[in-house]
């Protein structure tokens, strides 16, 4: 981009107090409608989770780490719990792994729906689709409340399994919800993805080529939206993902429309995964008791989990105490935000495109801030 003299460049700030910005301040240097530079200024919701986790034993640690991405709670808790299990060298019973996969996939659907609603509203004008996604989360929240006891931040996983059994009496209610949801997805596609004006606003906007996606470090659906098939559930199957057949969804175009389409198809895929998991869930114990006051063996473990926003890793290092010595969390949104900040350098971005591009990356600023 031609370097404008600083006189003509106007720096607009979308502060944390802004109808669309979320907990972040985004500084945009524009010359008229053309965007020269995007600088996300994060840190507004930094709670120092890594420091807190250094003072929590492995049973307590699940609660703070879940607050990192409230909308996608189970996947974050799963990565923490798997790291702890790897250090302890224990393997949760089969049934617990199936329950975990079901809850994680439901969380993926909830998170994609939430991100989808925001992305729809980012294109402007308060479309009805924005609140349909909130309405369609309701049946899943109700199901999660029956299984775990709350609608958000379940604190349901513990090293060695889960806290409660999967109640069999809600099995057909679960399957009915999945059928209802599949029909709702149909309404989204016909009302929004085939919406001419949405296509004109989202197609060929914020194009991310595959080599740029890898070089800049895009994560999860944004990487797969550019055609790069990197999915931890397939590359390094954890829990019981190797016993469930599903396909990794990629879209070749790499623009905002493709990223949203990847999330949409991943929701369809998650429904299939949940159905298979419910069908062949074995009976048996759902938890292997691990006392919270147990001293961890010395060692380290890096667990990778495919959250809704991308690959999240928890590197837990323990020096023999009951509390881990150091926990390093690899946050996908921090990588996504860097890609967004480099967007004006790889494609032409107009001012009205910035919310569309930003929310096609489905950012969750608490995840970047930790």
């Amino acid at each position: 981009m031609s370097e404008k003299s600083s006189k003509q460049v106007m720096r607009i700030s979308w502060g944390p107090q802004h109808p669309m910005s979320g907990q972040v301040r985004i500084l945009i240097d524009t010359d008229g409608e053309r965007v020269l530079n995007i600088i996300p200024d994060i840190g507004f919701t930094h709670r120092g989770i890594e420091k807190i986790l250094e003072n929590r034993n492995i049973v307590q640690g699940v609660v703070p780490i879940e607050r990192m991405v409230m909308v996608d709670t189970a996947n974050i808790a799963l990565s923490y719990v798997r790291a702890a299990e790897e250090i302890l060298g224990i393997e949760p019973p089969k049934r617990a792994q199936y329950i975990r996969v079901i809850i994680c996939e439901v969380c993926r659907i909830l998170s994609h729906l939430y991100g989808f609603g925001l992305a729809a509203e980012a294109c402007g004008g308060y479309p009805a689709v924005f609140l349909w996604s909130t309405a369609d989360r309701e049946p899943f929240l109700d199901l999660m409340e029956r299984i775990t006891g709350t609608r958000w931040s379940y604190s349901f996983f513990v090293p060695g399994g889960v806290y409660a059994d999967f109640p069999d009496k809600i099995k057909e209610k679960f399957l009915a919800t999945l059928e209802y949801f599949e029909e709702r997805l149909e309404a989204y596609r016909r009302a929004w993805f085939e919406n001419k004006i949405f296509e004109s606003r989202a197609k060929d906007v914020g194009i991310l080529k595959p080599e740029d996606a890898i070089r800049l470090g895009a994560a999860g659906p944004n990487l797969r939206g550019s055609g790069v098939a990197l999915d931890v559930r397939k590359d390094e199957p954890y829990e019981v993902y190797d016993e469930i057949d599903f396909r990794v969804i990629t879209q070749p175009e790499g623009d905002s429309y493709a990223r949203l389409m990847v999330r949409y198809l991943e929701m369809v895929e998650s429904v299939k995964i949940i159905r298979q998991a419910i069908e062949n869930m074995p009976s048996g114990p759902y938890r292997k008791f691990v006392s919270p006051l147990k001293r961890l063996p010395k060692g380290e473990a890096y667990s990778r989990v495919e959250t809704a926003r991308g690959e999240l890793g928890v590197h837990m290092i323990s020096d023999g105490g009951t509390k881990p010595y150091r926990i390093k969390i690899t946050s996908p949104t921090l990588r996504n935000l860097y890609v967004v900040s480099q967007m004006p350098k790889i494609t032409e971005v107009l001012l009205a495109d910035v919310p569309v591009i930003l929310y096609s990356f489905d950012p969750w600023y608490l995840d970047a801030d930790r």
Binding site: G217, S331, L334
Partner: protein
């Protein structure tokens, strides 16, 4: 599936950099950890990216071993082809926390290095703008993630 690819990678690294590598081991399938001497960081990083195709940066972290008076900076790398995670580590003394920034090798480490700098006080030489990322601009409370950081609230745990 054994660990042939991981062993091959270790052999490739060892054969090119005998002296620079302090230790290289396969933690478990798809996890490699190599510790590199600080002055050779740049060459090893360039070798990893060009020849062994570790092109995707997951993140950059550090660990404060206060008893052994050293920091350990860890680069979490992923090769998008073999889908193997490599932890590139280097140890630096606590009183002289300097390490070369690998931003010219992997552009994506920009934000991660800034965060490690503000949390641990490890300066990455050659980083274009080592400024605050998460903490407020006017923060003078020291480096939070260091072990000797005073916790004011009822933390303790």
């Amino acid at each position: 599936m054994g660990e042939e690819t991981e062993k091959k990678i270790i052999e490739a690294i060892k054969s090119n950099f005998q002296d620079a590598i302090e230790e290289a081991e396969v933690l478990r399938p798809k996890r490699i950890s190599i510790t590199v001497r600080n002055n050779k960081m740049f060459e090893v990083a360039r070798f990893l990216r060009d020849r062994l195709k570790f092109d995707y940066v997951l993140s950059v972290g550090a660990v404060d071993y206060i008893k052994e008076n050293r920091f350990q900076v860890i680069y979490y790398l992923l090769s998008s082809k073999e889908k193997v995670v490599l932890m590139l580590r280097t140890n630096i003394p606590r009183d002289k926390p300097f390490t070369p920034s690998l931003i010219s090798v992997w552009e994506a480490v920009n934000y991660h290095e800034r965060e490690t700098w503000e949390m641990f006080g490890i300066t990455f030489k050659g980083h274009p703008n080592l400024t605050r990322l998460l903490l407020p601009e006017d923060w003078e409370g020291g480096y939070p993630l260091r072990k000797d950081f005073k916790l004011s609230s009822s933390e303790g745990g």
